[in-house]
């Protein structure tokens, strides 16, 4: 417990904890994390004390500035990381061994913050809903009641979404950087709880949204239970919470393999739930569909990134010695995830559900990279580099695609039924072309980022001898291509049904989001070298 206590009380009295010399270095290393926590708390204070009319502006500015500040801090921390082990890894373990600020952590932090930055812009979009946020005016008002009508006539806004989002981001940043099991669990809860709330805040179709939130919460809480039960098993086996000791125990083959295997299985359930892997995926389509689309965009990109970071750290660092025990399990999960995600997406008629299943399939593709060669040779792509790169491509593609979903509307709000997208290519060629590019990217067509990402994870898997996963991966990519192409066909080659979809003109904020995602998709497809280099420089995890 002392590790977690040290983390939670990081601001309390660092001098009391013996064993590390320079507490001031600690703060600077953790500064990105602390800035985001600070912004979240400041957001709560704004909500409490600022006048209602000022809140939207203050919250948006606070979130944007905070994220930019954290990004700058991340870059500074990243540049100054200590080299370890002759340059194969960077960074140091801080906060009494609770947090590892190393190359991969910094990479994931940077990625999360960039994606959060553009997600904040999506959250702050007000023009699409006629001057209001795309969140419920007053979440506590029951759908269809007088109170709800009153809230909308008074133009109430639930600006708490910004601090909630910042808390979630802080949890996401802590999750992949945690260096012991308890910190990891705390981070998991910190990132999950605000997301459960955010999912239930949709302005339109509120019952669907609240159902999604409840479903997410129930299943999420259940999976957290599995996770902590697994932690108990692993503690029982290794007698320690921190990854270095666990790794030592695992490599030393201390007795009680049953405890270890049970523990691995149970923590894997908690992790795989967060990355939407089959068979823990059932919540994904409902939650993605019900949640407000900006939240879906944020959650589908950032949660997955954080969860994959944590998954990699936990399994490579702590459980790496038992690789042969968990690899078969991940193989099966990866194959099942690719197959189920791609095949079930074929039958979807709602664009958000389709993207949800596509997100499941992407989790499968990333898992193939995860079980690949950790480091086949210095020149070749290792699995950590491949997965980090794939997460970059996936994050931008997903946020871009959901951002386009927010602008295609009909009188009832977002037109998410696929049939409403028919003929979009004629009505609004630019939006359709951009969306087509995102779909082609997800399908992995060359010259888009999806292709280079897929190439990286497949190469990693193949180097690690997982060629059955590569074969499944390419076949499932072909299946997945079918439903992506179906949407393109619909947009370009079908005539609109009824009066057809309208593309609302968003404010400059959503436009920026779409433009950034578009640019990232094209750039990473044509010249991915700088990002690949960055992922390679991140080096290995430290312990």
């Amino acid at each position: 417990m002392s590790n977690a206590a040290a983390l939670l009380g990081a601001s309390a009295a660092p001098g009391q904890a013996g064993g590390f010399d320079s507490p001031s270095v600690e703060y600077s290393l953790l500064s990105p994390l602390l800035i985001i926590f600070g912004v979240a708390i400041a957001g709560v204070l704004v909500e409490a004390f600022a006048p209602r009319s000022m809140r939207y502006l203050l919250q948006t500015l606070l979130a944007l500035l905070g994220v930019v500040g954290a990004l700058v801090a991340t870059v500074v921390v990243g540049i100054n990381l200590q080299s370890r082990g002759g340059g194969i890894a960077f960074g140091s373990v801080t906060a009494e061994g609770a947090i590892a600020v190393d190359g991969p952590s910094i990479f994931i932090w940077g990625l999360l913050l960039v994606l959060t930055l553009i997600s904040v812009l999506l959250f702050a979009e007000r023009r699409l809903e006629g001057g209001g946020l795309s969140f419920a005016g007053q979440a506590s008002a029951l759908p269809g009641t007088e109170a709800e009508r009153e809230a909308s006539t008074h133009g109430l806004e639930q600006t708490e979404v910004f601090p909630l989002m910042m808390f979630a981001v802080a949890g996401m940043m802590l999750f992949p950087a945690s260096n012991d099991l308890l910190t990891m669990f705390v981070a998991l809860e910190v990132l999950s709880l605000p997301l459960y709330l955010l999912c239930g805040l949709a302005r339109r179709r509120r019952l669907l949204s609240q159902e999604a939130a409840l479903k997410y919460f129930m299943l999420g809480a259940f999976s957290s239970g599995f996770f902590i039960y697994g932690i108990a098993f692993i503690y029982g086996y290794a007698g320690a919470m921190d990854f270095a000791s666990i790794s030592e125990a695992v490599s030393g083959r201390a007795g009680g393999q049953g405890l270890l295997l049970g523990g691995i299985g149970l923590v894997a359930v908690g992790m795989l739930f967060k990355v939407n892997a089959v068979p823990f995926h059932a919540w994904t389509p409902d939650v993605y569909q019900g949640a407000p689309t900006p939240v879906t965009a944020f959650m589908s990109a950032c949660t997955k990134i954080a969860a994959f970071g944590a998954l990699l750290r936990l399994f490579y660092v702590a459980l790496g010695g038992s690789r042969w025990d968990w690899t078969p399990m991940i193989w099966i999960v990866a194959i099942a995830t690719m197959v189920v995600g791609s095949v079930l997406a074929l039958t979807q008629t709602d664009i958000k559900r389709m993207l949800a299943y596509s997100s499941i399939a992407h989790a499968g593709f990333i898992l193939t990279g995860f079980v690949g060669a950790q480091r086949a040779g210095q020149d070749t792509i290792g699995s950590l580099q491949a997965v980090l790169f794939y997460l970059v491509t996936y994050g931008f593609l997903t946020i871009g695609a959901f951002a386009v979903v927010t602008v295609v509307r009909d009188p009832g709000g977002e037109a998410t039924h696929l049939s409403r997208w028919a003929g979009l290519g004629k009505a609004s060629p630019v939006v359709a072309a951009v969306f087509a590019l995102f779909l082609l990217g997800m399908a992995g067509i060359p010259l888009t980022s999806g292709f280079t990402g897929k190439w990286a994870v497949f190469t990693s898997a193949y180097s690690g001898g997982a060629w059955p996963l590569v074969v499944t991966g390419v076949v499932m990519s072909a299946v997945a291509a079918f439903f992506y192409v179906r949407v393109i066909v619909l947009m370009y080659f079908s005539d609109p049904v009824g009066e057809g979809p309208t593309v609302a003109v968003p404010s400059v904020m959503t436009t920026i989001v779409i433009a950034v995602a578009f640019a990232a998709t094209v750039t990473l497809g044509i010249a991915p070298q700088p990002v690949l280099d960055l992922a390679a420089t991140a080096g290995e995890f430290i312990r």
Binding site: Q385, I445, S463, V475, A478, Y492, A536
Partner: protein
């Protein structure tokens, strides 16, 4: 490093397509068409320069360019042409202006503006030129997949009533093959990463790596299936008739005459060049499939009532010949096949275009709706006849030379395959002459009594093709001079040499491995 001619060659049409997109798009506007035509002519001029600069006696790959692209992937931006690549580059550059001229008014029938029709065509030309010039497997793969997108929109946006279905079918078949190939491309990276020198995709370095027998065979299959779908071969040919029947004639020409050649080109360059052992291992099965394509395509062509579908099936048959020539693994067969790729491009283009003019006049693709056209439109009927005769390989027209060489190569390999292959020629005469007889001869049907003959534009689009076919029919030497060294180099990579013939030639190898 000299002037990057090949980059210029591929970039010109791509830039042109951007320009054409941006031009004003009013209905009846001729500027985009003129611009597209001009761009394609300039590209042709550059292609001619490339051909002149190419020295048949020089090293195998010439006009090479090489820059590091994605070093983590071992991918390079590497271009260069050998004799086979040059032949196909020329074919692409010749056909593009012809197609643009012939499709002058076709863009107006589509869903979208005329601009996009010609812009997609130019984009396709640029990408195809890049594919034929790429000497890096990764670059090749990227461009290979990228060509799908222009074709998809050309068929889907400007085709017949079932164009959407045809476009999707085309795309899914190609994507499936392409993704299988991706598996092999990834595998190639891993194999090359294990070899000394680190990961690379350069053809020159890859061909020097020895690949484990089993791994090589699996990787070969990934490439081969993709190319077989592209070519197309039995049993993965079914997308072609739909695509050809629904696309505009110009699209069909670019699809069959240029893009499908990527399949056979890839077989020579990548399957044989990178996996010689696996290629020989697969030869019997490939040859059987080739002969089946050849006969099956011809038989189905005889039974067609729709003109474009008939031509598509003849192409399946012709591609059977080409694959046969490639995999008999001797210089007659491969020289014949490469020549065949060029000549088939010309003759099929002529056939698609002239029947396109015919169909446009009458508004029906069905053979049974025609009769006696030669009375009302003699020029059209005449060009139709010449194009048809070239398709059945009449001596004196260029396809004859190539088909003859393929058959010689097949006879050298095995009498049995050759006997079946010869049947294909008989069937070819049947489907072409029957089609001519049913559409052109006899009393003119009332519906076509007022049919106009070919206009000046249409004649000038067809004329270069007919002239080339006649000239190369009598004098194929310029092409064979360029092709022979490249074929020799390929055979050397495979490690076979021509069997000692009964008549003395310059071949000096021992008895082949058959």
């Amino acid at each position: 490093m000299s002037f990057p001619w090949l980059t210029l060659l591929a970039a010109l049409p791509l830039l042109g397509s951007v320009v054409v997109t941006l031009l004003p798009a009013r209905r009846g506007e001729v500027l985009p068409k003129q611009a597209a035509f001009a761009v394609s002519l300039v590209t042709l001029a550059v292609a001619v320069v490339v051909a002149v600069l190419y020295d048949p006696d020089g090293p195998r790959f010439q006009l090479t360019e090489q820059h590091e692209w994605i070093s983590a992937f071992g991918a390079h931006y590497a271009l260069g042409v050998d004799g086979i690549g040059l032949t196909l580059v020329l074919l692409t550059a010749i056909l593009s202006p012809v197609v643009i001229l012939a499709s002058w008014n076709d863009g107006e029938l589509g869903r979208w503006s005329v601009n996009s029709f010609f812009a997609w065509m130019l984009a396709l030309e640029g990408l195809a030129l890049g594919v034929f010039a790429a000497t890096d497997v990764f670059l090749f793969y990227v461009l290979f997949e990228a060509t799908l997108i222009p074709v998809y929109f050309l068929i889907g946006g400007f085709g017949g009533p079932r164009r959407s279905y045809a476009a999707v079918k085309f795309l899914l078949y190609s994507l499936f093959g392409g993704l299988l190939m991706l598996g092999s491309v990834v595998g190639l990276y891993v194999v090359s990463a294990d070899a000394p020198g680190g990961p690379t995709y350069l053809l020159s370095e890859l061909s020097a790596i020895s690949i484990d027998q089993n791994v090589g065979r699996w990787l070969f299959l990934g490439f081969f299936v993709a190319f077989a779908i592209k070519a197309p071969m039995f049993p993965v040919h079914t997308w072609l008739p739909d695509a050809a029947a629904e696309g505009t004639p110009g699209t069909s020409v670019l699809l069959v005459s240029v893009l499908d050649k990527i399949g056979t080109f890839g077989m020579i360059r990548f399957c044989l060049g990178l996996f010689p052992e696996a290629s020989q291992w697969a030869t019997p099965v490939v040859l059987v499939l080739a002969v089946i394509s050849l006969l099956y395509g011809a038989l189905l062509a005889v039974g067609q009532n729709s003109i474009p579908r008939l031509i598509a099936y003849t192409s399946v048959s012709h591609f059977g010949f080409i694959v046969l020539g490639i995999f008999v693994m001797n210089s007659y067969g491969q020289t014949g096949s490469t020549l065949y790729m060029f000549n088939h491009g010309l003759s099929t283009a002529a056939l698609f275009l002239v029947t396109g003019f015919l169909v446009r006049r009458r508004g029906s693709q069905l053979i049974s709706d025609y009769g006696g056209v030669e009375k009302v439109a003699p020029v059209l009927a005449g060009t139709f006849l010449v194009a048809g005769l070239s398709s059945l390989s009449l001596p004196g027209l260029s396809p004859f030379v190539s088909e003859f060489l393929v058959l010689v190569g097949t006879f050298v390999y095995s009498y049995w395959f050759a006997i079946f292959a010869v049947l294909g020629i008989v069937l070819a005469a049947l489907y072409i002459l029957l089609m001519y007889q049913r559409t052109m001869t006899g009393p003119p049907r009332p519906e076509i009594a007022t049919m106009k003959d070919l206009s000046l534009r249409e004649v000038s689009a067809l004329a270069p093709l007919l002239v080339l076919m006649v000239v190369l029919g009598f004098y194929p030497k310029p092409l064979t001079d360029v092709i022979n060294p490249a074929v020799g180099a390929t055979l050397e990579q495979v490690g076979v040499s021509d069997p000692e013939p009964d008549v003395p030639t310059e071949a000096t190898g021992e008895e082949g491995s058959q």
